[in-house]
Symmetry: C2
């Protein structure tokens, strides 16, 4: 019997998720929720250009679903912890486990220990499990490197880079990296925190937790990547001198040694997209994925692949390192 | 407190393991066993060129260890199931969990279901867990590709290749790939089964089991790689026209579609060593480790990294896909 999914958040990522759920024999969508009034009452399938699904977008889960009609909620709404927690708590009250793509929730135990503990307790009290995952954080810069350390006898340092061409990514992603802005606008937006890719800190904490490292300090920096020529892409053209994207670097130190380095770079027209993991130790390991893994497909896929695993987990707030290995499965 | 390990099998791999155990703060060796009379009574540390350890190689575990003096047995003796099972059963009788590098035991549920079930029952009856792992089978051609499918929405086929330069590998490995033989000798030895790398079939079954695929048939083929020039390496020189190594191909079919392809190639002086995983699907993923991962270090490391995981596992015969993700850990 297929796992019945209630989707919360019918933005660009949520709509992709719908299509991917429909393509899988072991999953089905049974409800759709979004707080955007312009989406409410509309057919989920039509919003996704998939034909009629006879599932209308509702303002809340309670408005559209009775207890026992879904097995899990898939929540694709916001990146920040403060805003996602009340949304998750509402779902937990209905007795539903939650898989979400909220980046800050992927490893909140160091950055927001009290909020994490509160959510964990609530999930345990209500007997359901919660997981945040995605391609990054959730895979490329944490669980994949962690998996590679299975063959490590000794580790001096880990360096991970994700270099992406953002030309084919969804609009919110292109906005998040500042593509097309003037430098002045980029710097202003950077101050308000809207331009950053969320998750480097969470990935570093996840790696350290799994390897048994105690991080002394963390640094994150953000800088613009400027277009030095006119960059023409499917969705937009970047004029020379404007922002093509963002480079963000995260560093974790132990005893003033740089143990983890994360380089996230995403711009329109990026010349050499590639995902790389380097483990310095015994043995040295360099693992590359030329071209990189497409973020939207991968985030959808890993969230869906995590669902059967989460449904078998003990109640509580889980992270990717608490659960058995997530993998594609037809079952 | 360090995990106390009883080592069984003090051949070249076992000796490397001793050195790697000594290098880790969370592990210690408390006993050494080998059936080879020429090793018995000798100091383990001296055999490993590590100085005196005051651990003498004994003919059996019972001869050297009282109940409660070790936490786990690390068994590095043979590759075949039939011979390893009585060795493991002897250890289980002493109430010790077992981590072994026996290739055929990494996924015996399809190739030897009755033996696997018998060992599983015995382990459960005695309340301890058993795991076979190594770099391959155990990682490069099964759990690593499985980990990569976490971001897969759809998989058409998986192709994995491990191309190794055997120049720096231990002697039994070089013998196993037929390095230095004449073609006639290679073909004779091939018939007796001693030349093959053991594990391709096990890796294919492990992948299929985790992905929910039902394999219809499996093919394995072995062919020699001939030296077309004089190949000089650290340990031996291969004359032109002699065997430099072996190429082995494993294929798994579903409905006459080739779903899994494994290419194992190891020879002295191999020009482009590399570990590659290709997943054809949505998205396509190509992951490469240029130079490849050194097999002896990696097999030792993954077996040691698996120990803390196995000690927390339920009793029974486990495979790498039954356990939580194995990774390096200081804890």
């Amino acid at each position: 019997m297929a796992i019945r999914i209630a989707q919360i958040g019918i933005g660009p990522l949520g709509r992709k998720m719908t299509a991917y759920i429909l393509a899988r024999p072991n999953l089905e969508v049974v409800a759709a929720v979004d707080t955007d009034p312009s989406l409410q009452g509309r057919d989920l399938g039509e919003l996704c250009s998939l034909g009629t699904l006879k599932i209308l977008v509702a303002p809340s889960l309670e408005a559209t679903l009775r207890r026992g009609q879904a097995d899990v909620a898939l929540l694709t709404t916001v990146s920040d912890l403060i805003r996602v927690i009340p949304q998750i708590e509402e779902v937990l009250q209905l007795g539903l486990p939650v898989v979400t793509t909220c980046e800050e929730l992927t490893y909140p135990w160091i950055t927001a220990p009290e909020l994490a503990a509160r959510l964990d307790k609530k999930a345990k009290d209500l007997g359901v499990a919660v997981l945040a995952t995605g391609v990054n954080p959730g895979f490329m810069m944490d669980t994949l490197p962690i998996s590679l350390t299975a063959v490590s006898q000794k580790i001096e340092a880990i360096k991970i880079s994700r270099i992406q061409d953002a030309s084919h990514r969804r609009l919110p992603f292109r906005q998040k990296i500042g593509a097309g802005l003037e430098l002045r606008e980029f710097e202003e937006k950077k101050k308000t925190g809207v331009l950053r890719h969320v998750g480097l800190t969470e990935s570093m904490h996840m790696i350290a937790a799994r390897l048994g490292w105690t991080i002394d300090s963390i640094e994150e920096s953000i800088s613009p990547i400027m277009a030095d020529r006119s960059i023409v892409s499917e969705a937009l053209t970047i004029q020379p001198g404007r922002v093509a994207g963002v480079q963000q670097i995260g560093k974790a130190f132990i005893d003033s040694n740089e143990k983890i380095t994360l380089i996230f770079r995403a711009s329109i027209g990026e010349a050499h997209p590639e995902d790389t993991v380097e483990i310095f130790g015994e043995p040295n390991i360099l693992s590359t994925i030329p071209g990189g893994v497409h973020g939207d497909i991968a985030t959808s896929a890993i969230a869906l692949n995590a669902i059967p695993i989460l449904l078998r987990a003990e109640p509580g707030l889980k992270t990717m390192i608490d659960l058995p290995r997530v993998a594609f499965s037809l079952m």
